[in-house]
């Protein structure tokens, strides 16, 4: 399980493949105020990034993966 809800926070962990996009979207819609924590995230499929960009949800932490940190963070934090 790489996308889950824990204590009101949507947590992304490890490798999030394309299938996780729908799960993430469902969680975001069901918990409109829940922030997203991607500290433990290694890899995000484009479809998951797309959901995060569209969601403009507040994001916690910094992902472990260098590409995500360097290139994707600016797009998430500055939607």
């Amino acid at each position: 399980m790489t996308v889950r809800l824990a204590d009101g926070v949507i947590v992304l962990e490890g490798d999030c493949p394309v299938d996780e996009a729908e799960a993430l979207l469902d969680l975001l819609l069901a918990n409109p105020n829940a922030p997203v924590d991607w500290t433990a995230c290694d890899q995000l499929h484009t479809s998951v990034v797309q959901v995060l960009i569209v969601a403009r949800r507040s994001i916690r932490g910094e992902p472990g993966d260098a590409f995500l940190r360097r290139w994707i963070v600016p797009h998430i934090h500055l939607p």
Binding site: E22, L25, Q43, H45, T46, S47, V49, V51, V54, I72
Partner: protein, 752 residues
């Protein structure tokens, strides 16, 4: 503000006006190559200057617009109203940015976004379709931030030969997720990624409507490396990717390593040289291109104080045009470049003969206004001198001083009047300044209303005082809107009436004696005078019998009466019928008059007659209930004394007979609702002092009863502004000899 920026603002505003005119003309005659070249030159010069000042968003946007115009010029892109709209908006945006620069020396934070939005609109959705298959889009480095671009250039240094910066545009197939594609993973595997932008292909959907399995992204990237390696990374999605090398210059001329101002100027110069050298200039446009290159280069040189070089470039341009040969310009540019590198030669060329500088002088408006105010104060002082001379004459035993004092007063009077005239002349500006704003306005309105309209402008060079010209805009705006909204019939109705579908609105200005006349004419339906009359009776502006007595022309003038609207429905364009009255009041406030001529089904002409200058106003001072006012002498037909037995009561109102007509009598104190003063002079039982005033506009005469009549003076009128500007009873104020402010009445607006 630095002087160069000031110059830039002035010039740019002129260019924007020129560009706007050109674009509107171009929309009507898209085949006119000269118009395209003219507009191209405007955008190019604006872009060049904005580059000098490092106004990046403006430079990027204008650059994109310039590309578009180049495409139009070369016949690659057709002209359509939407494109003209966007180009006009670019000019609007530039104008707004100039205003921002003037106020706070910088652009607002959203400037980058605004520029990017306009650039996207310029390129249009079909940009991809019209571009050749693998066509690069590296001419929009603007989508990357300055930092990203300089980082890319920085990163390129020290790389092996054969590496370049590549622009990558990756538009993944929306169904690519189903094929197992992961576009960002491809990007992550790209060697030398230097910048990344993720944007929606259209707009991002709302989260609720997002289809997580549909890829809606567009990915823009800069990558540094060898072309083969970069292409290899995308080999599986080659049909969705466009890759092209970015010339460093295109990444941004301003971003050559080390952002010193020298290099900016150098880059601008280099770019102008490139522009001159380009061989794709169609014949006939050559001179225009030289002109814009020279202007941009001269501005850049002046920026760093190289006035000598700038002058040399200007001189070289003249020579080049004369000889049909750009080589003098090349030489001048090269010399400028060399001169910049070795200060010694720069000094030498500083002393080079510059072209004769006898053109007009651009002076800030405030300085002239200050001069104008000073002359106004001198006139006050002069009036005081006159008063002093008068008192001296009354004093006994001063005979030998009175004559020289009077002579001196006469001399000072003549000098101040001449000086006032001279200053007033400085303030003369062409009405074109105001007319210029209308082609755009008429174009937009005509599109909105679905009524095709041509605007003819005549006599835009006719000049009048700045205050008069500036005061014209709002009344004209109202009249032009009225013409389009109410005057001009819908096209089908015009067709039915045998008129051309395209209506014509004419703005015309000309001098008539010491007045300037401005007319707004349309060939629309004309005013329904009978309807105006009915309306006037309904709204109790006048009685049925009075209406019957009016001639057609007099009845047409009723449109200027307060509270009348001829249209049953008001529209968002023309307001609620206070309009024409407001126009009349605005014009009368600056000493003008309005008139109307209308022929049913043929059209309407509204005529505004204005003073050429705010010349000295001749007034007479009067007093009422202990206060003093000025009354313009030109409306006073006669000053009379009335004994009580000549005053009659008609329907409860006071009136008297003057030159065989019955004239109503209004005491000034009561009209103005002044508090009663225990003035021993008033109501002393003697004759009453009455000014017979011509109310103008067919309103006849009325008597204005005052308590006292004082001096006749020449004064410089200061129009009321702010809140006071809306009080119709006063024309303005003037300073008196004793330093007090005197209110000048507008007698035409006085009767209750």
């Amino acid at each position: 503000m630095n002087a160069l920026l000031e110059q830039f603002l002035l010039e740019s505003r002129d260019l924007i006006a020129e560009g706007t005119r050109g674009l509107i003309a171009l929309e009507r005659s898209p085949e006119d190559g000269e118009l395209v070249v003219g507009v191209f030159r405007v955008f190019h010069t604006l872009k060049g200057s904005s580059g000098v000042f490092g106004i990046q968003p403006m430079t990027r946007m204008l650059h994109a617009a310039e590309d578009m115009l180049a495409a139009i010029r070369d016949g690659r892109t057709p002209i359509d109203p939407a494109l003209i709209d966007t180009l006009l908006e670019c000019l609007d945006q530039t104008a707004r940015w100039l205003d921002e620069l003037e106020v706070r020396d910088g652009l607002s934070d959203d400037a980058d976004g605004m520029a990017a939005g306009l650039i996207r609109r310029l390129r249009g959705d079909d940009a991809a379709a019209t571009a050749p298959p693998d066509a690069p889009e590296f001419d929009d480095p603007g989508i990357f931030s300055e930092a990203e671009r300089s980082a890319a250039i920085e990163a390129l240094r020290g790389q092996a030969e054969g590496t370049s910066i590549f622009r990558v545009v990756y538009q993944p197939d929306p169904r690519c997720f189903f094929n197992g594609d992961d576009p960002l993973k491809l990007i992550a595997g790209l060697p030398g990624l230097a910048a990344l932008r993720i944007s929606p292909q259209g707009d991002w959907p709302a989260l609720e409507t997002l289809d997580p399995f549909r890829c809606d992204m567009r990915i823009d990237a800069l990558a540094i490396g060898e072309e083969a390696a970069i292409r290899h990374a995308f080999r599986l999605v080659a049909d969705q990717v466009r890759i092209a090398e970015v010339p460093l210059r295109a990444l941004s001329p301003q971003l050559s390593p080390g952002p010193k101002s020298d290099d900016i100027v150098g880059a601008v110069l280099a770019e102008q040289r490139l522009l001159l050298a380009s061989t794709d200039t169609p014949p006939g446009e050559v001179a225009g291109r030289w002109g814009s290159a020279a202007a941009a280069a001269a501005n850049a040189l002046r920026y760093e104080g190289g006035n000598g070089h700038a002058a040399a470039v200007a001189a070289a341009l003249a020579e080049a045009v004369e000889r049909h040969d750009p080589s003098p310009l090349f030489r001048a540019l090269d010399q400028a470049v060399q001169g910049r590198q070795s200060p010694g030669t720069a000094a030498a060329s500083q002393s080079a003969p510059s072209p004769p500088a006898s053109r007009s002088l651009r002076v800030e408006e405030q300085r002239v206004d200050r001069l104008f105010a000073l002359v106004g104060e001198m006139i006050v002082a002069k009036n005081t001198l006159g008063w002093l001379a008068g008192r001296t004459a009354e004093a006994a035993g001063a005979g030998d001083i009175v004559r020289p004092l009077r002579d001196l007063h006469a001399l000072v009077e003549r000098l101040t009047r001449d000086m006032h005239d001279a200053v007033v002349r400085i303030r003369m500006v062409p009405v074109g300044q105001v007319f210029d704003r209308f082609p755009r306005l008429v174009r937009d309105l005509s599109l909105r209303l679905g009524k095709p309209v041509d605007l003819l402008v005549e006599g835009e060079g006719t000049s009048a005082d700045k205050t008069v010209v500036e005061a014209l805009f709002e009344p004209l705006l109202h009249l032009v809107r009225n013409s389009l909204d109410h005057g001009i019939e819908p096209p089908e109705m015009r067709r039915g009436a045998g008129k051309p579908e395209r209506a014509t609105v004419t703005l015309r200005a000309f001098h008539a004696g010491d007045r300037v006349v401005v007319e707004v004419s349309d060939d629309g339906g004309g005013i329904d005078i009978a309807a105006v009359g009915r309306k006037a009776v309904d709204s109790r502006v006048l009685g049925e019998d009075e209406l019957g007595a009016l001639s057609e022309a007099e009845a047409a003038r009723l449109i200027f009466a307060p509270g009348l609207s001829t249209m049953d429905e008001t529209s968002d364009l023309s307001g609620r019928g206070v309009g024409m009255a407001a126009v009349r009041m605005a014009i009368e406030r600056i000493g003008g008059a309005v008139g109307v001529e209308t022929v049913r089904h043929r059209g309407t002409t509204i005529r505004l007659e204005l003073p050429l200058t705010l010349a000295l106003l001749r007034i007479v001072t009067v007093s009422a209930r202990g206060r003093r006012f000025g009354v313009p002498l030109d409306v006073v037909a006669e000053t009379i004394r009335l004994s009580d037995d000549r005053i009659r009561r008609i329907r409860g109102r006071a009136a008297f007979t003057w030159r065989e007509q019955v004239v109503p009598l209004h005491p000034l104190g009561r009209i103005l609702e002044l508090p009663e003063a225990r003035d021993p002079l008033s109501g002393s039982g003697g004759d009453r002092l009455v000014l017979v005033v011509d109310a103008g506009g067919g309103g006849g005469f009325f008597g204005l009863e005052v308590d006292g009549i004082g001096d006749r003076l020449e004064v410089a009128l200061r129009p009321m502004d702010g809140l006071l500007g809306n009080i119709p009873a006063y024309l303005g104020t003037t300073l008196q000899g004793d330093g007090q402010v005197l209110l000048i009445l507008n007698p035409k607006e006085l009767p209750p």
